[in-house]
């Protein structure tokens, strides 16, 4: 199938990258997964426009880009409340829209959350590097030459016309995540919770932490009551593998939530955010308040099932 040019970047926005579900299986070589930080929103976007789960979309951080459609395409905007417009008209999020060739998609700005996603019917073409189209900004590969999008970039897809019939498909209103300034993240204690006294664990569990401006695709630094390891222990541990959602306690006692651009680390992890809540990490913004709620493995599993049910419930019919 020939590639069809679908979008031209008129202005790129502060940080717009190509991301898919990530690059797993290369941790032994120090390669982090990357991928959409709010994977729920990317997956919903792909479902809405009739794409497979592996397709890439655009992750738009802090604010949106402006793009022009180069052919007739189905799109869906999901994630942070970014106020999309086609030409001058406001258009809804979490719903499949069709753009005509020459129409311009822009965004008035993010009101809640941090990252919005643009899915395009047919996906966004990029060479798969180590099995994924995700942009690894640190090591500069994947996506479009490993970099954020810039003015003049042209994005292409395959067979966009097959997806036009998905127009009007929408995520039920009740399933749209609210990006509130106070967020409760469900956690499972460990791997190193035994390195902390019970009083420290309850401080961690009962305090609100403020999201600082030190936040990017590698991690989110929080500020709040200090968490200290037991007195006899060294500040750091021997380097070991980590996953996104692990909450590490560095020497200054202020927690850092690890995101998907990190593969090893040398600090203790007091707890780990459950898989069903990882997508919320992608929407935390400075000054948000975070609380941690320990849950059982069974609760973590039910939460994951609930998410899958929402995603599988979106049925978009393709043109045949």
């Amino acid at each position: 199938m020939a590639a069809v040019k679908v979008l031209e970047i008129i202005s790129p926005g502060p940080l717009t990258t190509i991301q898919d579900r990530g690059r797993l299986g290369f941790g032994q070589y120090g390669v982090a997964p990357s991928g959409a930080v709010d994977s729920f929103s990317l997956r919903v976007g792909n479902r809405l426009v009739g794409n497979g789960e592996d397709e890439a979309g655009l992750e738009m951080t802090f604010a949106g880009p402006a793009v022009t459609a180069l052919s007739e395409i189905a799109i869906a905007v999901t994630g942070a409340d970014i106020q999309p417009r086609i030409n001058t008209a406001s258009v809804p999020m979490w719903r499949t829209l069709v753009m005509q060739k020459g129409e311009r998609l822009s965004f008035k700005g993010i009101r809640n959350g941090l990252r919005a996603y643009l899915a395009v019917g047919g996906g966004i073409n990029a060479e798969r590097v180590l099995g994924s189209r995700s942009t690894n900004l640190g090591a500069r590969f994947g996506g479009l030459s490993g970099r954020p999008l810039v003015k003049g970039d042209i994005l292409s897809t395959h067979a966009p016309h097959l997806h036009l019939k998905t127009e009007g498909t929408a995520l039920p209103f009740a399933s749209i995540p609210a990006h509130t300034p106070e967020v409760t993240l469900r956690i499972i204690f460990g791997p190193h919770h035994r390195h902390f006294n019970p009083e420290m664990l309850s401080t961690f569990e009962q305090s609100a932490y403020r999201v600082t401006t030190q936040l990017d695709r590698t991690g989110i630094r929080l500020e709040g009551p200090l968490i200290k390891e037991k007195a006899a222990l060294e500040k750091s541990i021997i380097s070991e593998g980590v996953v996104s959602g692990a909450i590490q306690i560095p020497g200054d006692g202020q927690p850092i939530i690890i995101l998907g651009e990190t593969v090893t680390g040398g600090y203790r992890k007091i707890a780990t955010v459950i898989s069903a809540d990882l997508h919320r990490l992608g929407q935390l913004r400075p000054e948000n308040k975070v609380r941690f709620l320990p849950v059982s493995p069974d609760e973590a599993r039910s939460a994951l099932l609930a998410i899958e049910t929402i995603i599988q419930g979106i049925k978009a019919g393709l043109n045949r």
């Binding site: 797993l24 299986g25 290369f26 941790g27 032994q28 070589y29 120090g30 390669v31 982090a32 997964p33 590097v129 180590l130 690894n136 640190g138 090591a139 500069r140 590969f141 994947g142 956690i187 499972i188 460990g190 791997p191 190193h192 021997i238 380097s239 070991e240 593998g241 980590v242 996953v243 959602g245 692990a246 593969v263 090893t264 992890k269 780990t272 955010v273 459950i274 898989s275 493995p297 973590a300 599993r301 994951l304 899958e308």
Partner: protein, 228 residues
């Protein structure tokens, strides 16, 4: 210390840390390598990633189909037969290094720290073979050890904001090579023209955990033979 039995630490609902010891030591490293290769050979389809560390193996799985307990059982079974598991020979890799001057800006400091000459530091660095204990920090970065005792050097007090790609450094008992420009606090004694990480290749990393490495000295003129 090498543990008799693995210690399991849950990292959320989708990963399990299998800890096999509590110090940076050859015996622990070899056990980790053994388990890592056994797990890979078992090619479990629910396993999404396996990340070896100095003392542990992190197993990442699909939480939708698998629980940490299931992974724990599988690892326990593999562990019982681990010593019979036939290990592939590690690769032996020789790495050319231009030492000193602008290639190794900390060589002089390292020499004075050990109250010796730069020449002697180079001799100490090249006389020993090293093991790749793990790859991490940034793609393709090998943590190698152990340095001869008379070359153990503390990290820089203030890390550099940009260490050039190819820089060869020392930190405590370890030596390493920066596969890409990165902030870093290791003492930089030289530079290697070899490309350590190439995402367009599979495997993308020149070195793997378990490989044996030796450094040899080349001159600035010889550098060009190695550059690609």
């Amino acid at each position: 210390m090498l543990y008799k039995q693995p210690e399991y630490r849950v990292m959320g609902d989708r990963s399990l840390l299998v800890e096999l010891g509590n110090e940076i030591h050859v015996s622990v490293h070899e056990k980790v390598r053994r388990l890592f290769l056994a797990v890979k050979q078992a090619s479990l389809n629910t396993l999404l990633d396996a990340v070896p560390g100095y003392c542990s193996l992190l197993l990442v799985f699909d939480p939708f189909t698998t629980t940490p307990d299931q992974i724990r059982k599988i690892v326990n079974n593999l562990f019982l037969e681990l010593d019979e598991f036939e290990l592939p020979e590690p690769a032996n890799i020789e790495i050319p290094v231009v030492y000193g001057d602008e290639y190794g800006p900390d060589l002089g400091w390292v020499a004075s720290y050990h109250k010796t000459t730069p020449e002697d530091v180079i001799a100490r660095h090249t006389q020993t073979g090293y093991r790749v204990y793990m790859i991490g920090f940034i793609p393709g970065f090998p943590y190698m050890g152990e340095l001869p005792e008379n070359l153990e050097t503390p990290r820089k007090k203030t890390p550099r904001t940009a260490v050039p790609r190819g820089s060869v450094g020392l930190a405590r008992k370890q030596t390493g090579i920066y596969p890409a420009q990165s902030p870093g606090g290791w003492q930089i004694i030289g530079w290697s023209p070899l490309k350590l990480f190439d995402p367009l290749k599979n495997p993308p990393s020149l070195l793997e955990m378990g490989d044996r490495v030796r450094f040899f000295r080349i001159s600035e003129e010889e550098m060009t033979h190695w550059q690609r």
